[in-house]
């Protein structure tokens, strides 16, 4: 009995998978805003998907603001990552602890400075969440640097390690 059922399952499974793949691809091809099949999950792609509510800042703009000392960087990653290395002068505000730590951290931000949140990997939306959170708290000049840590290193911009600052 189990054998005949197993045989049934054996041909049913690939057909069910094929039907689903067909429906998915078909629907995706027909719908208005289709998702590209082979999308590189690079900075732009994620930036486009993640956020409508926070401005995404490019690495060039961020670097310029860094050089002119116009922005404070907030590291949204967990503290251990921050200690291993972070953007020079950045403050650590892990997303997980944002609610408890934000007041303490926010006090360190000089008035009039823009805030740029960042984390690591295009596949990380912590910075975006943190930026939205800060916006909700009433900060005006908040933007998110997608894939910040990787992009920062790629451009050989200054970094710090340890718990300083």
């Amino acid at each position: 009995m189990i054998k005949s059922l197993s045989i049934k399952a054996f041909w049913q499974i690939p057909i069910i998978l094929a039907i689903s793949a067909g429906l998915g691809l078909g629907y995706n091809a027909l719908r208005g805003n289709q998702v590209p099949l082979a999308c590189q999950w690079n900075d732009q792609a994620v930036g486009a998907i993640i956020s409508e509510s926070t401005p995404i800042i490019s690495i060039e703009e961020a670097a310029l603001m860094f050089k002119n000392n116009k922005a404070v960087f907030l590291d949204a990653r967990p503290a251990s990552f921050y200690e291993e290395g972070h953007i020079q002068g950045a403050l650590s505000l892990p997303w997980q602890e944002a609610e408890e730590k934000c007041i303490e951290v926010v006090e360190k931000i000089p008035e009039g400075m823009a805030i740029i949140t960042y984390c690591d990997g295009a596949n990380c939306d912590l910075c975006d969440k943190l930026a939205v959170f800060l916006c909700d708290m009433g900060f005006e000049h908040v933007s998110a640097l997608i894939n910040g840590w990787t992009a920062w290193n790629r451009h050989n911009l200054p970094v710090d390690t340890g718990n300083a600052s």
Binding site: I2, S6, W11, A38, W41, V46, W95, L126, K129
Partner: protein
């Protein structure tokens, strides 16, 4: 006579329980799949956040999985191709559990992407606990289909009963 009667009652009970569970599990998957079909891009982002799949597969997975959930859900409800559908259901539940546990252990702070693509639906141990009853129900269904053989009994209980005396004579 009596044991056979008991047996019959039991199999009726199993197929009734299985029917209720099929309806529940089918509805859960349809309910989970539709929002992801509507917001495929958001779901792709959620899949990406799990950091489990290579980049090249993420979008295909995000396009494919919600439909698989809906198709399997519909099949469960209608009772079509139960052996295949039930195995896929169990496979998916185990995969989801594994992905959630891995993410929780790795301490990823990401959205679940389970029943919506809303990032407020974050992963924690509660999300994992929520899956346990579903997993148990789907395991029961596996048992009911493959061991208790509810699919065959459901179709022709009377025929087999009338056949028996014929065979004996």
């Amino acid at each position: 006579m009596i044991p056979r009667q008991n047996d019959n009652n039991r199999s009726i009970m199993h197929s009734r329980i299985a029917l209720v569970i099929r309806l529940i599990l089918g509805a859960v998957f349809i309910f989970a799949g539709v929002p992801k079909i509507i917001d495929t891009a958001g779901f792709a982002s959620a899949v990406n956040n799990y950091q489990l799949l290579p980049d090249a597969l993420i979008n295909f997975f995000a396009i494919f999985l919600p439909w698989l959930e809906v198709v399997v859900g519909v099949f469960l409800i209608l009772g079509v191709w139960l052996p295949g559908a039930v195995i896929i259901y169990n496979g998916l539940m185990l995969t989801f559990m594994a992905a959630l546990v891995i993410s929780a252990v790795r301490g990823l702070d990401i959205s679940c992407g389970c029943f919506s693509t809303d990032s407020a639906d974050a992963i924690d141990w509660k999300t994992i606990a929520r899956d346990i009853p579903l997993l148990l129900m789907s395991l029961y269904l596996l048992f009911a289909v493959f061991v208790k053989n509810i699919t065959n009994r459901r179709r022709s209980p009377k025929k087999t009963a009338t056949c028996r005396p014929n065979r004996r004579t």
